[in-house]
Amino acid sequence: MNIKFYLLQRFYSAIIVLIGVSILIFIIARIIPGDPARMALGPTATQEMVEKYRDKLHLNDPIHVQYWFFIKGISEGDLGESVYTKRNVTTDVSKYFPATLELIIFASLIMVCVGVPLGILAGRFKDKPIDNISRLISLLGVVTPSFVWAVFLMIIFAFYLDILPVAGRLSQDTIAPDKITGLIIIDSIIRGQFNVTVDALKHIILPALALSLSALGQASRLTRSNITEVYDKQYIEMARAYGYNEFKIATKYALKPAMIPTLTILGLDFAAMLGNAFLVEFVFAWPGIAKYGVQAILYKDLNAITATTMIIATFFVFTNLIVDLIVAYLNPKIRLSGIQ
């Protein structure tokens, strides 16, 4: 077994899983009782209209034919037409996805830059005050749903202190820069429109914070437990016996062994934030794919729901794959022998 074999194996797994996911989503959408066409068109539509729509959605065809159309559509980039917006779902999704991406990137930055150091401090100074404070914050992050955080943060910062805006990505009179990446903060920096950057930052901070707090708590706890575990190992005592000072141990010697297992979970959390984004986007009226998804659900928009779920699942699977590959590279045991 060597590393190449391992990589191929993981990639192959990922593809199989994605196929499985597509089947699963497909089944959910088609098998569950109720007529999607009827649900979409509403009670006022005539039976004729419903039938016509059913044909359009291929709902009267045998199930494997339907699946074939579904897969064909995906490979051509055509995810069907949205009942609600009447546009191609692909267009809609590509319009809204960057917003969500920006949000989860920001939230993940917070998770890593705040959660991990907090965990390191808590683990290093175990049972001292900093440990207890950090554990309290982590705990509160983990047990509170992101929408509750969203509401609390909104009340404190947007209403009570009135320093941050309540909704949207940009203030009403600010125009977004022309699209390069679709991430407003990056685009505005590239184009030198720094006032737009500031405005975008002001808008993103509350939703990103609400989104990150749960993952932050988890990251902090995990880092803490990994660091404590590493500090109990023989090679740390050995390092001390060779005169390493504590700071060097904490930053260079103990960090790598502790962080590598954490990395996997952090990657999972980054992808999982996509799920939680639904709630935060809803509260802060953030124009992202999650809000689009919720809308799709409320309007029983078959194609939109299927497409959104599929995209999110694909993103999740590939992020996991990339994280696995990074970990495989960093961990010499895997890198050199391909065994996990």
């Binding site: 109720g34 649900m39 509170t144 209403f159 939680n276 996991n320």
Partner: protein, 281 residues
């Protein structure tokens, strides 16, 4: 098979946070079960309208204030706990047996069965939890029952994975091998040798999960995909209350805090059990 004895209790009680968790959970369960007798305004939990008393801030009569049609927030929160606990129990009653059985079978028999079951589990686990629940709820009418089904469907894979890993390591232990040599039936080995040794992990995970199921459930109802009014539900209350921010803050803040507290309670209790049994989840 004794898990709890006086020594265990002593060790558990050494950690003050675990005791706090136990107290919170016990208190909430008590309040929820006897809600009819303990709340000041039990009738507010159902269809009830009292316009003159609407939108009153917290006071001595209405501890957490009243809502737009005069219902007492405090009483509704207690009844909301009922819904949450009911959801948690039912979901786990469905997800745990399914997930555990699959994990036991896959881990014990190995081979093709293992491959198929774990593949399917992986597929379910490849969709972020909330997204899966949402896409199921998308096609169902938003009711409590349907929400329970949706959440159970996304929850069982976690148990399969946990029990699968446990089974794989336990099945090579001395006592299992000797049972096989003696000729014990598969059924006996799975349910009498392997499963009891998973009990510590199971109990801990179930306790922690109660909190998380309630959290997901409240997220679903926040989006309007769970329980429908007038049944009191914490997530729905936050959602409806958020429309009136910031002036009428008590309508969303208190239910939000209520969710926090119940999840916190189960989490502290679960963490205490985790330290006590010394399990890795």
């Amino acid at each position: 098979m004794k898990i709890f004895d006086s020594r265990a209790w002593y060790k558990f009680s050494k950690n003050p946070l675990s005791i706090v968790g136990l107290l919170i959970v016990s208190l909430i369960i008590l309040m929820a079960v006897f809600a009819n007798y303990l709340t000041p305004f039990p009738e507010h939990a159902g269809p009830f309208v009292d316009i003159p008393n609407k939108i009153k801030p917290p006071s001595s009569t209405y501890l957490f204030g009243t809502d737009k049609i005069g219902r007492d927030t405090f009483s509704r929160i207690i009844f909301g706990y009922r819904t949450s606990l009911y959801l948690g129990v039912i979901v786990l009653c469905i997800a745990v047996p399914i997930g555990t059985s699959l994990g036991l079978v896959a881990g014990y028999f190995g081979g093709k069965i293992d491959a198929i079951i774990m593949r399917i589990t992986d597929i379910f686990l490849s969709i972020p939890p909330l997204v899966l629940a949402l896409s199921i709820m998308a096609f169902l009418k938003p009711t409590l029952t349907n929400a329970m089904i949706a959440v159970s469907m996304m929850w069982w894979p976690w148990y399969t994975r946990l029990i699968y890993n446990l089974t794989r390591s336990i099945k090579n232990e001395g006592f299992v091998v000797s049972a096989r040599i003696v000729g014990a039936s598969h059924f006996h080995i799975i349910f009498r040798e392997i499963l009891p040794n998973c009990s510590a992990s199971l109990i801990t995970k179930i306790t922690l999960d109660m909190g998380f199921v309630i959290l997901i459930g409240s997220s679903l109802s926040f989006l309007g995909l769970g329980v429908q009014p007038p049944t009191p539900d914490l997530g729905t209350m936050v959602s409806q209350g958020s429309k009136y921010l910031p002036d009428i803050w008590w309508l969303s803040v208190f239910p939000g805090l209520a969710i926090l507290i119940i999840v916190l309670g189960f989490n502290l209790l679960g963490d205490g059990l985790k330290d006590l049994f010394d399990v890795e989840l």
